[in-house]
Symmetry: C2
Subunit: 571 residues, 2 copies
C-alpha cells in the first residue's frame, strides 16, 4: 500500500472514530503539519467545522461550544507554540469540567528535540491540566495501528465525558508528505460504543444523608454552577421535597423558569443579606448541603465557614474536595441524578420560622435591589436594566470579575427563560469573547455577552472568528476604563501605585474595533439612553453596546445599597 | 513581628535578591494575588517596570526585552489562567534560549485544589518547558525563610543565565491580607554573587577539531542564530583564520558590519544557489562546521543532509543534539568563546577553487537578487526596498513564516549597521508584535517590525503595551490577506479546501487598529509609493505601514527569481 493511502486511511479512521463517539463540532486553526487531519475534518459532512486563526481564542471558542451543547468539541492545531496557545482554555476547561478533545499535530520522532522548526516537546504538554494525554503512532500501515487509534479515540471521548467532564490531549505525529486522497465516505469502525456510568452514593451514605436532612431544624441548600448536562428537573424535585431555603447562584440557572411550587424556597439575594451581622446570627445553620461548584459570593462562603455547621455536606461528581471553607463534614462522590429524589424524606424537621426568616430577608433585599435599579445610575442599575431588556429565551454570558458578580446580585428570580454562563473554572478574564461566541454558535438562542473593558480587550481576537463563520451575538461592554473589581478590595485604600498596578486604565474605547469587524456600534453614556438605544439595535451579525461608567461611582452605589439592606435587616 | 512586616520583608528580600543578581527589568500584569510583589517591584527605583494587561503579550514583551539586553527579565502575574497565558512565550524562550524569570503569584496551600477562585495547580505548570520550577514557602517569619528565598532567587537567575539560557519558574504563594509597608531602601542580601562558568571543549576535542579543519579540502561553515550575548569579534576572528566559505544566516547578524577582511568569505545567497543541482554537485563538502541554531533555509539543510559530509561538526552550548539532518558526526558541547580562535589552524588545506566557486555563485545570485529588487513588485522586492530605506543603526524584528525568509533572501552583505531578530525558537507566528515592542524598549536603537497580516492580527494585543509605556516602533505589515507561506507548500497544488484551511483570508485591514492605538497610519498599495511614503512618516510613538500584496504574485515572482539564478548557475 502506498504512503498516501496509508495516511488517508489513518486520518479518516480518526475522523470516523470521533464521529462514532458522538463528535459533531471541530474547531480548526490553520497550519501545515495538521494538514492531513484538517483535510479529513473539512471533507466530512457529519461534522461542522469552525475556524479561528488565534489558537488561544479557538480553544475558548470550543469551550463555549461545548458548554452550549454539553458535548465534547474537537480542537485541531499545528505543531509548535500553536499548541501552547490552547493552554489557558484547557486550564479553564479542566476546572470548569468541560469536555474538550485537543488534537495537536506533531512532527515525527526524528524531528523532535533536534532543533527542527515548529517542533516542541508536545507529549504531556498540558501536564496536570488534562485528564489524559496520549502520543499517537505514525500512520505506518501496520496491522495494529488502525484498531488501536479507533479505541484510543473512543477512550479519549469516554474520559472527557465521564464525571467530571474535562479536557484530553491527543498528540498526532505526521511525516511528510502531508497530502491525502479525499474520501466522501467514512470507513466503518470496528469499535462500537462506550457507556459512561452514573455515580450513585452507597446505600449507607444515602441513609445517613436522609437521616441528617430529616433531623435538621435549621439548614439550607446552596447550589452553585452544576455539571454540564445536569437534569434540573431532578434538582427542582429535590427542592420540592425538602422545602429548605435554597440559595441558588445565578450560574446554577435556577433563578429563571422556576417551578411555581419551588419559588417560595428560592433565595437569590444572599450576597446582600449576608452583609448583615444580625441576620447571620438569626440564621445560623445546623446543616448545609451544597450541590455544584462553590458560589461566587464570598459572603455566603464566609458565613458557612464561620458557622461551622454540624453537617456541611458536599455532593460532587469529582473526588477532588471542592471546598475552600475548611468546615465540610461529609463528602458524597456522586452525580446529581434520580437517586437524589428517591432519598427518604418524610418528616422534615426544619423550623417554619427558619425558612420564614430567609424568605423575609430575601423579599426585603429584592425590593431594595429593584428600587436601586429604578433610581441609580451605576453598573448595578445598568445590569438590572439590561436584564429587563434582554428578551425571553436568551442566554447571557458574563465575564469574570465584576459582571458575574453584578449578575449574581441583580438577577432576581424571574419568570423569563434566561440562562447565565461564565468561565468560573479558574475565573480568568481571558477568552471571554471567544467563549461567548462559541456558546452562541451552539445554543440556538439569542446570546448576550456582558463584559468589562479589560476582559473585552484581552480577547478582542475572539472576533476574528466572525471572519470565518456567520455570527449572532450582542456584546455589552461596561467600559469603566480599567479593572473595576479592585475598587472593592483593600488595595483601593492605598493610594500609592493604585492606578499603575490595579486601575490600569488604557483610555481605550471600542468604536474602532466595531468598525474593523463590521459590528453595529452603539455608544451609551447614561443609563437613561439605554432602553431606547437597545431597542433600535441593528440586526448585524455582531452588535457592540459600549456603556461608559465610573469605577468610583460604582463602588459608592453598591456600598450604599448594601448598607441600606443591612440597616433594614437590623430594624 | 506582625504579619504585615513579615510579608513586607519577604517581598523586599525577593526584590533585593533579584536586583543583586542583576535584574533590571520587570513586566507586570495587573492582578490581586500578586499585590505584595507588585508593590515591591513598583516601589524599587533600581528596576524599570513595564506593564501589559494581556499576559500572553506580556511574556513575549519580556522575551523581546531579554533579547535586546541579553539579560534576564522578570515577569509577574496573578494566580490562575493568567499564568497559563505565559505559556507560548515560555516555550519560545525555552527553544530560543532566552532567560526569563517567571514569577507567578499563587494561593496559599489551603486554597489550592479546593475549588477556590483563581486557584489552579501552579507548581510545575510549565512542565518540560522551563529549566527549573520552584514553589516558594509562604512569608511565615521563620528564620530559614529569607536566607532560603535569597539563595533560591540567585539560583533561579543563575540557571536562567547558564548555558543554554532559558526560562525558570518561581511560584510564590501569598495569604491574605496582601498589603505591605512600602520601603525606599532594599534590605542587604547575605548572598553575594553567582559566577556562570564558560564551557570549553576538552583538549582532545580541540585537537581533533583542529586536525579536521586543517585537513579539509572542501568545507564550509554555517552560522545560524547565535546564543544571546555571543561576542561576534571571536567569530569574525575565527572566520579570518579559517578562510572558508561562511554561510551566515540573517539572524546571526553577520551580514552587516562585516570586517573588510572577512567579507570575501561571507555567503548570504545560499538559499537561492542551493536550488541549483549543478552548483550543489560542484560544492559537495567533506567537512561542514555549524555554529548557532539550524538555519531557516530548508535548501541548505537538505544539501548538508544529502551530502553526508565526512565530518559535520556542531558546536552548541546545549547538550541537546540540535541537528535535524541526521548526518552530524561530531558534537562539541561548548560556548562560542576565545578558545575558538586559539585552535591550531596553520596549514589550511582548503582548495582555492572551492572557495572561488562559492564566491562566484554568491556574487551572481546577489546580482540577480538586486536586479529583482529594482524591477519586481512582489513582497521580495518590497523587502529589498525596505532594507534600503531603513536607516543605519536600526534593528529589524521579522515575523516567522514569510518575512523571516524574505529577509534571509533579500538581505545581502551590507555596510550598514543593521541587526535582525526573530522568534525562531519554535517559529510561531504568535507574540510577534509584543516581542518587537520589548526589543524596541531594550535596544536603544530605531526598531522596525516586518510582519504578515495573520501574525499581526494574532498579537494585535501587543499594542496594549503602548497605553502604559512610551513606545517607538515602526510596524510594517505585508497584508496579503491570509497565510502566504502555504502558497509555497504542496498544499497549494490541491484546490479543495485550500482557502478554507490554508489561505484563511480575513479581508481585514488595519487602519482601524492604527486609529484605536493612535498610530501614524500609512497605506501603501504599490512598491512605487513606498519610498516617498516612508520618508514622510510622522514621528508618532507607533507607526503602521500597511503594504498590500498578492499571495499568488509573490510565489510567481520568487519562483521566477530562483529559476533565473539556477539557469545562470548552470551556464
Amino acid at each position: 500500500m502506498n504512503e498516501r493511502k496509508i495516511l488517508s486511511d489513518y486520518v479518516y479512521t480518526m475522523v470516523a472514530s470521533l464521529v462514532q463517539a458522538g463528535i459533531k463540532n471541530v474547531v480548526i486553526s490553520p497550519g501545515s503539519r495538521s494538514t492531513p487531519l484538517a483535510y479529513a475534518f473539512a471533507s466530512t459532512k457529519q461534522l461542522t467545522m469552525y475556524r479561528q486563526v488565534d489558537e488561544r481564542s479557538a480553544a475558548f471558542f470550543a469551550l463555549g461550544l461545548a458548554k452550549a451543547t454539553a458535548k465534547p468539541v474537537v480542537l485541531l492545531c499545528t505543531s509548535g507554540t500553536a499548541a501552547a496557545n490552547y493552554f489557558p482554555a484547557i486550564v479553564e476547561a479542566s476546572y470548569a469540567r468541560v469536555p474538550l478533545i485537543i488534537v495537536t499535530a506533531d512532527r515525527p520522532h526524528e524531528l523532535r528535540e533536534v532543533g527542527a522548526p515548529q517542533a516542541i516537546n508536545q507529549p504531556n504538554l498540558y501536564g496536570a491540566h488534562v485528564k489524559w494525554s496520549v502520543d499517537f503512532p505514525l500512520a505506518d500501515g501496520a496491522a495494529p495501528t488502525l484498531p488501536f487509534i479507533e479505541r484510543h479515540l473512543a477512550r479519549a471521548v469516554a474520559i472527557a465525558t465521564s464525571a467530571p467532564f474535562g479536557p484530553v490531549h491527543v498528540n498526532v505525529p505526521f511525516r511528510e508528505p502531508l497530502l491525502i486522497d479525499f474520501s466522501n465516505e467514512l470507513p466503518t469502525t470496528t469499535f462500537k460504543h462506550s457507556d459512561m456510568g452514573q455515580l450513585i452514593p452507597t446505600d449507607d451514605a444515602q441513609q445517613e444523608l436522609s437521616a441528617i436532612l430529616q433531623a435538621t431544624k435549621k439548614g439550607f441548600i446552596v447550589i452553585g454552577e452544576l455539571a454540564l448536562g445536569t437534569d434540573l428537573a431532578v434538582v427542582w424535585e429535590f427542592v420540592r421535597q425538602l422545602k429548605w431555603p435554597t440559595i441558588v447562584e445565578s450560574l446554577s440557572n435556577m433563578r429563571a423558569s422556576i417551578p411555581e411550587d419551588c419559588l417560595p424556597y428560592i433565595i437569590t439575594t444572599y450576597d446582600a443579606i449576608m452583609k448583615s451581622e444580625d441576620f447571620k446570627t438569626l440564621v445560623q445553620p445546623e446543616t448545609v448541603l451544597r450541590l455544584g461548584a462553590q458560589p461566587i459570593s464570598k459572603f455566603i462562603m464566609q458565613f458557612i465557614s464561620k458557622s461551622q455547621p454540624n453537617a456541611y455536606i458536599i455532593i460532587d461528581e469529582d473526588a477532588m474536595f471542592r471546598d475552600a471553607t475548611g468546615v465540610s463534614t461529609h463528602f458524597i462522590h456522586a452525580n446529581i441524578g434520580q437517586w437524589l429524589t428517591q432519598l427518604e424524606i418524610t418528616n422534615v424537621a426544619l423550623e417554619k420560622t427558619y425558612l420564614a426568616e430567609w424568605q423575609k430577608a430575601n423579599e426585603l433585599a429584592a425590593m431594595h435591589i429593584e428600587q436601586h435599579a429604578e433610581v441609580a445610575k451605576d453598573e448595578g442599575a445598568i445590569v438590572s436594566r439590561l436584564l429587563k431588556l434582554i428578551p425571553n429565551g436568551s442566554d447571557i454570558f458574563v465575564s469574570s470579575s465584576m459582571p458575574v458578580r453584578d449578575i449574581d446580585t441583580f438577577l432576581l428570580a424571574t419568570p423569563k427563560d434566561l440562562r447565565v454562563f461564565a468561565n468560573r473554572g479558574a475565573n480568568g478574564i481571558d477568552g471571554v469573547v471567544s467563549t461567548a461566541l462559541g456558546l452562541s454558535q451552539g445554543n440556538q438562542r439569542e446570546t448576550y455577552l456582558l463584559i468589562g473593558d479589560l476582559a473585552f480587550l484581552h480577547d478582542v481576537n475572539g472576533l476574528i472568528a466572525s471572519r470565518y463563520q456567520q455570527c449572532n451575538l450582542t456584546i455589552i461592554v461596561l467600559n469603566n476604563d480599567g479593572g473595576g473589581i479592585f475598587s472593592y478590595l483593600p488595595q483601593s485604600t492605598v493610594e500609592a501605585h493604585y492606578e499603575d498596578l490595579f486601575g490600569t486604565p488604557t483610555a481605550l474605547t471600542f468604536q474602532d474595533v466595531a468598525k474593523m469587524y463590521d459590528m453595529d456600534y452603539i455608544r451609551v453614556d447614561t443609563i437613561d439612553e439605554l432602553s431606547e438605544k437597545f431597542a433600535t439595535m441593528k440586526k448585524q451579525p455582531l452588535r457592540l453596546i459600549e456603556i461608559f461608567t465610573d469605577r468610583a461611582e460604582n463602588v459608592k452605589a453598591h456600598r450604599k445599597l448594601w448598607q441600606r439592606i443591612s440597616t433594614e435587616l437590623k430594624a
